[in-house]
C-alpha cells in the first residue's frame, strides 16, 4: 500500500495536462481511502476501543478497563457460548454442504426433469429473509401452538409435540436449511465448470456411477466444497436472526444473540457487547482465512477444457422418484411450508377452532398495514433499500474503475479494505457503528443504518463491478480513444455502458440484502429509524406472532417485487444460474 507519489522528474516539457493527470492519481485514491477508512476501519477500531471502556465515549464517568474483555474472553458462560457457536456453526456448515452437494450433483449430473425450475426453487431461499423463515418455523413447529403439532393432535390424536424447533437441534436444522443455497451454488458452479471428460475417462476406465462420483467428481470439486463449508461457517457464526427468533439463550446460546442482549436487556452493557463483538470478529477472520485458502486451491485445480460437449447424464431409473422427492422436500421445507404457515397466521382469526375450518379475515392485515408505525417502517425500509444499494454501487464502481483503469496509487490498499467487510458479521459492524456514531447527530436516524449497510455490502458491489470491468476488453476502450474520445468520454460511452448489466445486478443484490437484513439494524434501532425486519422482531418479542408474520409477509412482498423487477424488467442476472 503505497499512497505516496513517486518522485517524478519535473522535466521542462511537462505540461499542465500531465500535472493534472498526476494530481488525479493522488486525489481520487486519497478520497476513496478516507471514505473506506471512515466506513470500514473506524467502526471496527472503535469497537475494539469500546471493549476496553467502562461506558460509552459520551459518558464522562467512563474510563479504561479490561473488565469486559476479561469477562468475555476468560469466563465460563462466554467461553461456553463461544464453543456452542463454533460447534453449532460447523454442524450447520456440514449439514448445509451435504444437502447442497447432493442437490448440486442431482441437478447438474443426473436426468432429473425440470432442471431449471428445480434449480430456481433451490436457490430461492437465498433471496428471502432467513428471519422470516425462522419466524415461519416458529409458527409451524413451536412446542405447543405450532401448526404441525396442532395438526398432529387434530388428525392423529397425538398428545404433546412431534416437532420442536425451539431446541438446539431445531435451531441448527433451520440454520442449515437456509444456508443450503450457498453450498449449492458454489458446488454447482464447480460441477458445471468441470471438464466432462474427467468423468467420462473414469467411466471408460471401468468405474461405475457411484465410484466415479466418489473418486473423480467430488475430489475434483473438493476445493469448492471446502470453500463453501467455510463460507457458510463464517455466515452462520454471525447469524442473529434464527437463534434469536427460535428462543435465544434459552434453547441455545449464540454469540450474536449475546451481543444483542447486552445492548437491549437489563443490565445494559455496551462494553460487553463490544467485547463479544471482537470475539466474533476473530472467529470470522479465521474462517475467512480458511475460505480464501480453499478458494485459491480451487483456482489451481483448473484444467484444460474441451469445447462444450453435452454431458452424459446419469440415468437414475428407479431412483428418479426418490431424487425428485428429495429436492421437493427441501423446497417444501425451505419455502412452501413456511410461507403457507405465514399466510395462514396472517389471514385467520384467533377464534378458529381448528386448522381445517379456520375463518379467514383481512382484518388483522388491514389493522397492521394501517398503523402509523408500520407505515413509517415501510417507508424507512424502502428509503434505505434505495440509498444503501445506490451508495454501495457508486463506491464499488469508483474503486473498481480507479483500480483497473486508472491504476491509481494505493490500489491494493483500496482493494483490501473494500473486500474486508466480507469477514465482518453484520452484528459486529452494528456494534462498531453503534460505538462510532453514538455521539453524533446521525445516531437514531436512518443514516446510521445506511452507513452500516454500505460498509457491510460494499464488497459485493465492488466485486461485481470489478468482475464486469475486467471482462471489458481493453481494445474496446483503446479503439474509442483512437477515434478521438477523451478519457471521460470513453468511460461514459464505452466502459460504463458495457458494465451496466453488472452494475444493475449489484444494485439488486444489495437491495435484497438491505431489505432483509436484521442483525445490524436491530442494534442501531430507535423509534424513528425502524425497518420492517426490526418491526417484525419487536412484535415477536412482545409475543404477537400474528403481527410479526404480517410484517414478514410485507417484507417478503417488497423483496419479491424487487427481484421481479430486476429479473424481468431490468433483465438482471442475480446468479450465474440466471
Amino acid at each position: 500500500m503505497t499512497l505516496a507519489t513517486p518522485a517524478a522528474p519535473a522535466g521542462m516539457g511537462e505540461g499542465f495536462e500531465a500535472m493534472r493527470r498526476r494530481r488525479r492519481g493522488v486525489a481520487l485514491p486519497l478520497a476513496l481511502g478516507l471514505l473506506l477508512t471512515i466506513l470500514v476501519i473506524v467502526p471496527i477500531g472503535f469497537m475494539f476501543l469500546g471493549a476496553v471502556r467502562t461506558g460509552t465515549f459520551v459518558d464522562p464517568g467512563a474510563e479504561f478497563s479490561w473488565r469486559s474483555v476479561i469477562l468475555v474472553y476468560t469466563t465460563l458462560p462466554y467461553l461456553r457460548t463461544l464453543g456452542v457457536t463454533v460447534g453449532a456453526s460447523m454442524l450447520v456448515s456440514l449439514l448445509a454442504c451435504v444437502v447442497g452437494i447432493a442437490l448440486a450433483w442431482l441437478i447438474a449430473r443426473t436426468d432429473v426433469p425440470w432442471k431449471r425450475g428445480l434449480e430456481n426453487a433451490v436457490i430461492a431461499p437465498l433471496y428471502l429473509s432467513p428471519f422470516v423463515g425462522a419466524l415461519a418455523w416458529l409458527v409451524l413447529a413451536s412446542p405447543n401452538a405450532g401448526l404441525l403439532n396442532v395438526l398432529a393432535r387434530d388428525i392423529f390424536g397425538i398428545s404433546g409435540s412431534i416437532v420442536n424447533v425451539m431446541t438446539a437441534p431445531g435451531i441448527i436444522a433451520i440454520m442449515a436449511l437456509y444456508n443450503v443455497p450457498y453450498a449449492y451454488m458454489t458446488v454447482s458452479s464447480a460441477l458445471k465448470g468441470m471438464d466432462p471428460a474427467m468423468e467420462e475417462a473414469s467411466y471408460l476406465n471401468g468405474a461405475g456411477v457411484i465410484q466415479t462420483a466418489m473418486k473423480v467428481t467430488f475430489p475434483v470439486v473438493r476445493p469448492a466444497i471446502i470453500s463453501a463449508f467455510f463460507f457458510v461457517f463464517v455466515l452462520t457464526c454471525g447469524t442473529f436472526s434464527i437463534p434469536a427468533a427460535l428462543g435465544g439463550t434459552q434453547s441455545m446460546p449464540f454469540l450474536a444473540v449475546d451481543i444483542y442482549r447486552a445492548t437491549a436487556t437489563y443490565p445494559i452493557d455496551y462494553a460487553r457487547a463490544a467485547a463479544i463483538g471482537t470475539l466474533l470478529f476473530w472467529i470470522s477472520l479465521i474462517g475467512v482465512a480458511f475460505y480464501r485458502f480453499a478458494s485459491q486451491v480451487a483456482t489451481r485445480f483448473v484444467t484444460v477444457t474441451a469445447r462444450g460437449f453435452r454431458m452424459r447424464e446419469v440415468r437414475l431409473r428407479g431412483w428418479r422418484a426418490l431424487a425428485i422427492a428429495f429436492i421437493a422436500i427441501y423446497v417444501v421445507l425451505a419455502i412452501i411450508l413456511p410461507y403457507l404457515a405465514l399466510f395462514y397466521v396472517a389471514f385467520t382469526s384467533f377464534t378458529s377452532a381448528s386448522i381445517a375450518n379456520a375463518s379467514y379475515t383481512l382484518a388483522n392485515f388491514q389493522a397492521v398495514v394501517n398503523s402509523v408505525a408500520v407505515r413509517q417502517s415501510i417507508f424507512n425500509t424502502l428509503l434505505i433499500g434505495f440509498i444503501a444499494p445506490t451508495a454501495c454501487v457508486l463506491l464499488g464502481v469508483t474503486i473498481a474503475y480507479a483500480n483497473r483503469r486508472m491504476k491509481v496509487h494505493g490500489g491494493a490498499f483500496l482493494d483490501y479494505v473494500a473486500m474486508f467487510p466480507i469477514a465482518v458479521p453484520g452484528i459486529v459492524f452494528g456494534t462498531g457503528i453503534f460505538w462510532t456514531y453514538l455521539m453524533t447527530p446521525a445516531y437514531g436516524t436512518i443514516w446510521i443504518i445506511v452507513f452500516a449497510f454500505v460498509a457491510s455490502y460494499v464488497p459485493f458491489a465492488y466485486r461485481m463491478a470489478d468482475t464486469s470491468i475486467i471482462q471489458v476488453d481493453k481494445a474496446l476502450e483503446e479503439a474509442s480513444a483512437l477515434c478521438g474520445a477523451s478519457h471521460w468520454q470513453t468511460a461514459r460511452q464505452i466502459t460504463f455502458r458495457l458494465i451496466r448489466p453488472g452494475i444493475l445486478s449489484a444494485w439488486i443484490l444489495v437491495f435484497i440484502f438491505s431489505v432483509r437484513e436484521i442483525s445490524a439494524a436491530i442494534l442501531l434501532a430507535s423509534p424513528s429509524n425502524k425497518v420492517l425486519s426490526v418491526m417484525s422482531w419487536d412484535y415477536l418479542e412482545f409475543g404477537n406472532v400474528q403481527n410479526a408474520a404480517i410484517i414478514g409477509l410485507l417484507q417478503t412482498a417488497i423483496l419479491v417485487i424487487g427481484i421481479f423487477v430486476g429479473r424481468f424488467v431490468l433483465r438482471v442476472r442475480l446468479s450465474e444460474n440466471g
Binding site: 471428460a197 467420462e200 471408460l204 471401468g206 475434483v220
Partner: protein
C-alpha cells in the same frame, strides 16, 4: 483386441439428426480415422461407440458382443474399451501413477501387477520418472502422454481417440503424430481416431472415413481418398484440388474427353467405375501438383497454353495461379527457374492425374 462393427447408426437430438445411417467396420488391429469438418457427426459417432452418447438406431458390435442396439445400451464402463480425450482429462487430484492405475484399481487387480503394468505403460509413452508428479504440474504434451498411458494400460479391446492432438502446439503435434502411429503399430490395438485435420488423418490411418453433415461421404485408404475423390466435397476437403465443370465429348468405360469452359479439352479417367458416363456434365478434378511445365511447342494430350497470373514462393515449390483461356487453375511448380508473373508458359496435365467425378 477386437473388430468394431457399426451398422446403420443414427443419432437424433429432437428434430436434428446428428448422425445418419453410418456403417463401417474397423478390423482387428486396424487404425481408422473419422475425418470431417466440425459438426459433421464424427465426434458423436465416436461417443456412441464409447457409450457416452445414446444412439437412436443402429447396432454397434465390439468383437462378438453387441454393445448398442435397440433398447440395449451397455454403459461405457462395461464396454472394455478406452479413450484418449481432446482435453486430456488428467485428474488433477491424482498423481500420474494414480491416474494410470485407476482402471486397474477399479478392476481390483493385485498391487504388484498394477505397479508393473503402470510402470510399463509409463515407459511406453516415455514418462518414466514422472509417476509421483501431479497432472497439473505437467505440460500439455506430458498430460497427453498420461492420458495415453491410462488408455492403454487397461488392455482395451478398442482404443478411441477424440482429437487428441488438437490442443498441442504445432511442433509437438507433428512429433506426437509419429509417436502415436508407431505406438499403435507396435501394440496392434484396434483404433478409431477422430480428427478434422486431413494431413493428420492421411499420415496416421490405414483407412479414412470421410464424413459430412452426419453422413459418410467416402471410405478408403488415404491414397484412394486423395487420388480418387468420389465427390466435390472429398476433392475439396482433402488436398484442396482444382475443380471445374465440363461436358463429356467422348468416353469409354474408363476414360473420357471433356470440354471445359472456353472450349478447352482435357482427357481424364473416371474416379470410380460407377462414375462412368457416355455424356452429360462431369466434375473435373486436377491436383495442383499434377500440372507440370513443359517446353514451348510441346504437343500431345492435355498440353495447354497458360498465362501466369501470380507467383508465391513456398520453399521447395512455388504456387502459381495460371489462366488457361478464361479458366483459373492453381499449380505447384518447381521453384527453380520460376516463371515471371504475366509470362506465357506451356503446361501439361498427365491424363492419369485428371479425375472425373459424376455427382449424379
Amino acid at each position: 483386441m477386437a473388430q468394431l462393427k457399426v451398422e446403420d447408426l443414427v443419432v437424433r437430438y429432437g428434430k436434428v439428426t446428428a448422425v445418419r445411417d453410418v456403417s463401417f467396420t474397423v478390423e482387428d488391429g486396424e487404425f481408422v480415422s473419422l475425418l470431417g469438418p466440425s459438426g459433421c457427426g464424427k465426434t458423436t459417432t465416436l461417443r456412441c461407440i464409447a457409450g457416452l452418447e445414446a444412439s437412436s438406431a443402429g447396432v454397434i458390435r465390439i468383437g462378438e458382443e453387441i454393445v448398442a442396439a435397440d433398447g440395449l445400451e451397455v454403459p461405457p464402463e462395461k464396454r472394455g474399451i478406452n479413450m484418449v480425450f481432446q482435453s486430456y482429462a488428467v485428474w488433477p487430484h491424482m498423481s500420474v501413477f494414480e491416474n494410470v492405475a485407476y482402471g486397474l484399481r477399479t478392476r481390483r487387480e493385485p498391487r504388484e501387477q498394477i505397479e508393473a503394468k503402470v510402470g510399463e505403460a509409463l515407459s511406453t509413452v516415455g514418462l518414466e520418472g514422472y509417476a509421483k508428479r501431479y497432472g497439473t504440474e505437467l505440460s500439455g504434451g506430458q498430460q497427453q502422454r498420461v492420458a495415453l498411458a491410462r488408455a492403454i494400460v487397461t488392455s482395451p479391446r478398442l482404443l478411441l481417440f477424440d482429437e487428441p492432438l488438437s490442443n498441442l502446439d504445432a511442433g509437438l503435434r507433428e512429433r506426437m503424430r509419429y509417436e502415436l502411429v508407431e505406438l499403435q503399430r507396435r501394440l496392434g490395438k484396434t483404433s478409431l481416431y477422430v480428427t478434422h485435420d486431413q494431413s493428420e488423418a492421411m499420415l496416421m490411418s490405414d483407412r479414412i472415413i470421410l464424413m459430412k453433415d452426419g453422413e459418410m461421404v467416402q471410405m478408403g485408404s488415404p491414397r484412394d481418398l486423395y487420388d480418387r475423390p468420389a465427390s466435390r466435397f472429398a476433392a475439396e476437403f482433402i488436398g484442396n484440388a482444382n475443380l471445374v465443370t465440363g461436358e463429356i465429348r467422348r468416353a469409354d468405360q474408363r476414360r473420357a474427353e471433356v470440354v471445359l469452359e472456353g472450349g478447352i479439352v482435357l482427357e481424364g479417367g473416371f474416379a470410380w467405375p460407377d462414375h462412368a458416363r457416355q455424356s452429360g456434365p462431369v466434375l473435373v478434378c486436377v491436383r495442383s501438383e499434377s500440372i507440370e511445365r513443359v517446353p514451348e511447342g510441346t504437343t500431345g494430350v492435355n498440353c495447354l497454353d497458360a498465362v501466369v497470373e501470380t507467383v508465391s514462393f513456398l520453399g521447395a515449390t512455388i504456387s502459381c495461379v495460371l489462366r488457361v483461356g478464361t479458366l483459373g487453375l492453381r499449380a505447384d511448380l518447381a521453384a527453380r527457374n520460376p516463371p515471371e508473373p504475366g509470362s506465357a508458359i506451356r503446361v501439361r496435365i498427365d491424363p492419369e492425374a485428371v479425375t472425373l467425378i459424376s455427382e449424379h
